[in-house]
């Protein structure tokens, strides 16, 4: 096991604890926006897609995989944040409630 792998494993395990800790405080009222926000956050895979699409793997299959990864990653990240924002702007308290 390389030193690098060990370091990444450490980060992984610590992030599990942070994830549980942060989420356990979200009320069930906000579970849909929460799920949609975490859905957008895993759109970070678009960074990986950029690295693969930009690596010039070559060949038709290389291009297809790179472009397809970018398309899916972009849908995930842009759609995820946009839909979360749309939901959250609807949540209003009694005082700030404006009838449409």
């Amino acid at each position: 096991m390389t030193e690098h792998f060990l370091m990444e494993l450490t980060v992984f395990v610590l992030a599990i604890f942070v994830g549980f800790e942060v989420i356990s405080k979200v009320p069930s009222m906000l579970h849909t926006p929460l799920m949609s926000a975490t859905n957008a956050i895993h759109g970070i895979v678009v960074v990986g897609a950029m690295l693969i699409a930009g690596a010039a793997i070559g060949g038709t299959i290389g291009h297809v995989i790179g472009i397809a990864a970018m398309i899916l990653g972009a849908i995930n990240v842009v759609g995820g944040f946009a839909v979360t924002e749309r939901m959250l702007e609807m949540f209003k308290g009694r005082t700030e409630n404006r009838p449409r």
């Binding site: 799920m35 690596a55 472009i67 398309i71």
Partner: protein, 467 residues
């Protein structure tokens, strides 16, 4: 470490911090929007930092993919109806899973092309994220098709199903082991991808529509894990942290949902819940179980509501299907104008994904401080004059408390039957999503108001205003 490595590295650290803070801010409706914006800023920082990565030697494919993908994501996010939110989230989730699998596949090809023999600690994360990402991709598409009613929402089962699924699973594991043991070849890898996609499809087919909140939540956590493992493959800490955050939160939500239905996760995934539909769409006269059902007119119900002190509304997905949430909001304000105390009781699995009902009511301008969680509202039913059940069925079914052989026995429910009067708005006597009879309808305290939920609620709202 040179400056070209240090600066993106620090930028990714900022991204991770912003994601964590963003999730933290999501714990209150007041700060939730800020949370989403923080996460968005984090994402932009990560993407910009990646632009300076020395590994990127060509831009055409990146730009082409982004120019196609981003508008698709944005436009569908703006156009989707709030009732269709679960399938939208399922689609975005599938896109993320598919992207993770493709990125790992690309990394596999890149390693092969570089000529060096890949080591096991390079191959293991590649194979794992390809498997999990592919399962999440195809599973999410089946979940989407079920929720969008492109296919039946009932569980699809056949003889020997679990054996077939087990064989596919063994194929995935076997091929992966074969590859990791040194047979590093494209056909073996392609076999893993195909078997994994099949596993996702076969895994979600036997799961019923009522269990979709659990499944979407689980698939969301799958994609998170796939992204985290992709991070191991690409040596990207920001992917590891972000993916793991999502994986952990998705797992937690999945367990919460399963608990809210008093089912183990294994039972949800393999139980084919609600497979045998009991009766179909029956008319109002065909009361299930033979008990007497008391039917009431809108005027009667409106009068009772108008002269109550406190009313608790228990909405279900039927309300959303009838697009009645705006009418419900109007009814609530008309009651409040008369000094009636109005509260909404939200079951954790009301709707088709965790917390879905809150979003639907927020869209109809119901203030969030009127929405109450099950544990908070259940003790208050006894003091309520009327419990108004709109399009909810299984989550109010007292059989869950009293009938040990009922499929939903033990599931926590809204105690609407403890209120002094119960009014159930329902299209007909048909069973709910889970296909189970509801003794609440035969309770002497219960009045049934049959008809389209939107029409009924509009009549109630008008009659209450006139009363």
């Amino acid at each position: 470490m040179t400056a070209t490595q240090t600066i993106p590295g620090l930028a990714y650290l900022v991204t991770a911090i912003l994601f964590i803070l963003g999730l933290k801010f999501l714990s209150s409706p007041r700060s939730a929007r800020t949370g989403n914006i923080l996460a968005m800023v984090g994402m932009v920082i990560a993407v910009v930092a990646t632009c300076f990565d020395s590994g990127i030697v060509t831009w055409t494919d990146i730009i082409l993919g982004a120019v196609i993908g981003a508008p698709i994501g944005f436009i569908s996010a703006r156009l989707v109806k709030m009732t269709a939110m679960p399938q939208m989230v399922a689609l975005f989730n599938g896109a993320g899973g598919g992207a993770a699998a493709l990125v790992s596949t690309g990394e596999f090809l890149r390693l092969l092309k570089s000529g060096a023999v890949p080591t096991w600690d390079q191959l293991l994360p590649i194979v794992l994220s390809t498997i999990i990402g592919s399962v999440s991709f195809s599973g999410s598409i089946i979940a989407f098709a079920k929720l969008q009613e492109l296919m039946t929402g009932r569980p699809i089962t056949y003889a020997g199903q679990q054996i077939v699924n087990a064989i596919v699973l063994i194929a995935v594991v076997g091929l992966s082991a074969w590859l990791l043991l040194g047979n590093v070849a494209v056909p073996v890898f392609a076999g893993i991808v195909v078997a994994s996609l099949l596993l996702g499809i076969l895994g979600v087919l036997p799961i019923g529509g009522a269990d979709m909140p659990v499944v979407i939540s689980l698939l969301n956590s799958f994609t998170g894990v796939a992204v985290a493992v992709t991070g191991f493959a690409l040596n990207s800490t920001v992917l590891i942290i972000s993916g793991t955050l999502v994986g952990a939160s998705g797992t937690l939500l999945t367990m919460l949902m399963a608990t809210a239905m008093n089912r183990s996760l294994a039972n949800v995934l393999f139980g084919a819940f609600g497979a045998a539909p009991k009766g179909g769409e029956a008319g109002p006269a065909a009361a299930a179980g033979g008990g007497a059902v008391r039917s009431a007119s809108a005027e009667d119900v409106a009068t009772m509501l108008a002269y109550s002190r406190s009313v608790i509304i228990a909405p279900g997905y039927g309300m959303a299907v009838a697009q009645a949430q705006h009418a419900v909001r109007e009814l609530a304000s008309n009651l409040e104008k008369r000094g009636v105390d109005v509260k909404f009781a939200i079951h954790p699995v009301a709707g088709r994904m965790p917390g879905h009902m809150n979003v639907l009511l927020a869209e109809a301008n119901v203030p969030y401080d009127q929405l109450h969680e099950m544990d908070e509202i259940n003790p208050q039913f006894e003091a309520a004059d009327v419990a108004l059940v709109i399009g909810a069925n299984d989550v109010t079914n007292p059989a869950a408390r009293s009938v040990p052989n009922s499929p939903i026995y033990g599931m926590p429910i809204l105690d609407v039957d403890k209120a002094k009067n119960v009014v159930v708005l329902k299209r007909s006597m048909a069973t709910g999503f889970a296909g189970i009879d509801n003794p609440l309808f035969e309770n002497p305290k219960t009045m049934m108001l049959f008809g389209d939920a939107k029409d009924s609620v509009q009549k109630l709202a008008a009659d209450v205003a006139a009363a």
